[in-house]
Symmetry: C2
Subunit: 412 residues, 2 copies
Amino acid sequence: MPEFLRLLPPDEALARWLAALPEPGPFLTEASPTPEALDRVLGEDIVSPEALPPFARSTVDGYALRAADTFGATPGLPAYLDLAGEIHMGQAAGLRLDSGQAALIHTGGMLPEGADAVLMLEDSQPARSGQIEALKAVASGENVLHAGEDVEPGQRVLTAGRRLRPQELGGLMALGITHVQLRTRPRVALLSTGDELIAPDESLGAGQVRDVNSYSLAALIERLGGQISRQVLLGDDRSKLDDALRLAHSEDDVILVTAGSSVSERDLTAAAIDALGKPGVLVHGIQIKPGKPTILAVAGSVPVLGLPGNPVSAFIIAGYFLPPLFQRMLGIDRRGIEPAIPARLSVNIPSVAGRQDFIPVRLTRDEAGWLAEPVYGRSNLIFTLVRADGLIRIPASATGLEAGSPVMVNLL
Amino acid sequence: MPEFLRLLPPDEALARWLAALPEPGPFLTEASPTPEALDRVLGEDIVSPEALPPFARSTVDGYALRAADTFGATPGLPAYLDLAGEIHMGQAAGLRLDSGQAALIHTGGMLPEGADAVLMLEDSQPARSGQIEALKAVASGENVLHAGEDVEPGQRVLTAGRRLRPQELGGLMALGITHVQLRTRPRVALLSTGDELIAPDESLGAGQVRDVNSYSLAALIERLGGQISRQVLLGDDRSKLDDALRLAHSEDDVILVTAGSSVSERDLTAAAIDALGKPGVLVHGIQIKPGKPTILAVAGSVPVLGLPGNPVSAFIIAGYFLPPLFQRMLGIDRRGIEPAIPARLSVNIPSVAGRQDFIPVRLTRDEAGWLAEPVYGRSNLIFTLVRADGLIRIPASATGLEAGSPVMVNLL
């Protein structure tokens, strides 16, 4: 499995990878209290057990009445209504309005039986004791929120696959749905090869560097809705790598391998991944910078991503390939909405046609809007990404971008 | 404290509120393992204890050598070098190169003493036993990452106030910084008034509705970096409200009160907030839709936000006023970068000049890009927000926007 038999464009590589995976589902689910489900993916359709609001409510402070009784009312020729009482908040209306009657009601109060509209307080005035004047005609239904106007009983309000935002949690609680089924988070194994790597809490010996990728990638995966099942440093020992891959393959849903930096380390990694199961390595080498030595594989039903060892490449490549993978594995129904910042490029950036380039940029603001300034630094330098606000893509069809060009910045 | 003595524009209201708060800091901090600090705010400056990389490293597979020895080398007139050995990954170079010598080195390997450059493998070829041919001249420093090129020892790599992203966690771990001080999350009290409110797990009686705001707001606050210290339903009892406000004032950092829906409930809330401490209520009524009855107050050093009772208004208003508050209270150094989606409006939207309107929209895509379609629904309907992808703002200076107008959609 030598490197770079044929370099694929990144979108084609992604499509080939996803196409080799089994159809997603059935999905495993787990129960959760609704308030703890922020950013998780709903695992069931939600059908409302009740109406929201549960009863007709006034949307203003005023008088509940029969609209027909105000027909033709004006300040010069008001309609007179008998005051039948007051509707207290949080209680049954407790009275029935007949023709010619009105009841004081507050915003959110329950419309009494017999009433079909609410006259706003400012369109009324007190008349002689026990009566009010309606200075304006109201239509049937005016200033009333009908029972079920937000949600009808039996209505499907959310479908499985929705990633839950604060407003979904509020909506569920509004319906009394205090527990929900969530899709379980895919288990991700992070295997790092390379004799030079040590854990961050160890003392550096000569020639050694600390593992970075396990931590930046773990945080990225957490954001995407996955959970890290294991983080292992493996050196460059093929049999250790084989063992770790087999264990991860039997227990986890996704395997990430960051290969050592050298060609021999990468070849060893590629061969071990390919041996894990069919169809094996599908893509080895992508027309992308940074990240050319990326490996995309599937072993049985488990996707395997082989990342370059250097932390910037690994992070950018994971940021490109993992979001669509997790969207598919979690069955997320989002429609590709990626927040981005429109900006102008501060300088000319050359690039090679036929290769998609990702450039870390820093955003600064002037009167005309955001300016995207490349953060120069070799792709080996993790603090390049710390200094960056986002990434811009230079498409494969371009041979660079000119200063002042409009670009979309995907926040990092 | 009657409502709406003078309606303020939202930006002016915000500025007045923030200006009445004491200068932020000194900030409380707490220790955390670095890998658990995602999205938290750093509470200390980070000075690197060491160089990154810790030694000069090769960026390619090839031969470490003295650049001067390759001077003038070409494929037709190669330079001959004696092979002095191989540099193994993760180990001290273990040899010293003299003039005329080269050592096999892998990407990421430690440059041996005496060497100042690396010749790429593809620019070399084997000569007679124990020698290689350099087919190309290399400059001093070529294909070498110098010790400290990413970070110098003693360099300040992060400053307090940085919100930690995956790449910051990776960078910290790369330097062996496995624990950090984080700013403590502001404690937020959520008080809800209104006799009509019950907790979501209770059975609905006539005239009652379930509390929504405590849950949608709690999730929003969690995202902003705060923590909920208490969630209390209070009815419309002034003395209960006073007691709850006093307790929250003595123990928490921020108080949110969602007022009942009626004018009398809102007046009671405003009076109780104003009595809590000086300077008291600063703003009562804002030129904004939805959310006109918003209250902004400060009691001593504690900011108090009085939100309208209806869930959509409460959520939109909290989304407008809380992010700058938390940014200030946590001393976050971000520079106002708000991700948004550029879109075109699908229909004409009328609005009233002098009032800033927030319109929930749903995004759909056509060939020309994103189309923002208003989600119509009364502001009382929480599922309006469930159906929405984001919000657009119609500025106070406009009297509506025409179909096709470019808009920025802030994702909800």
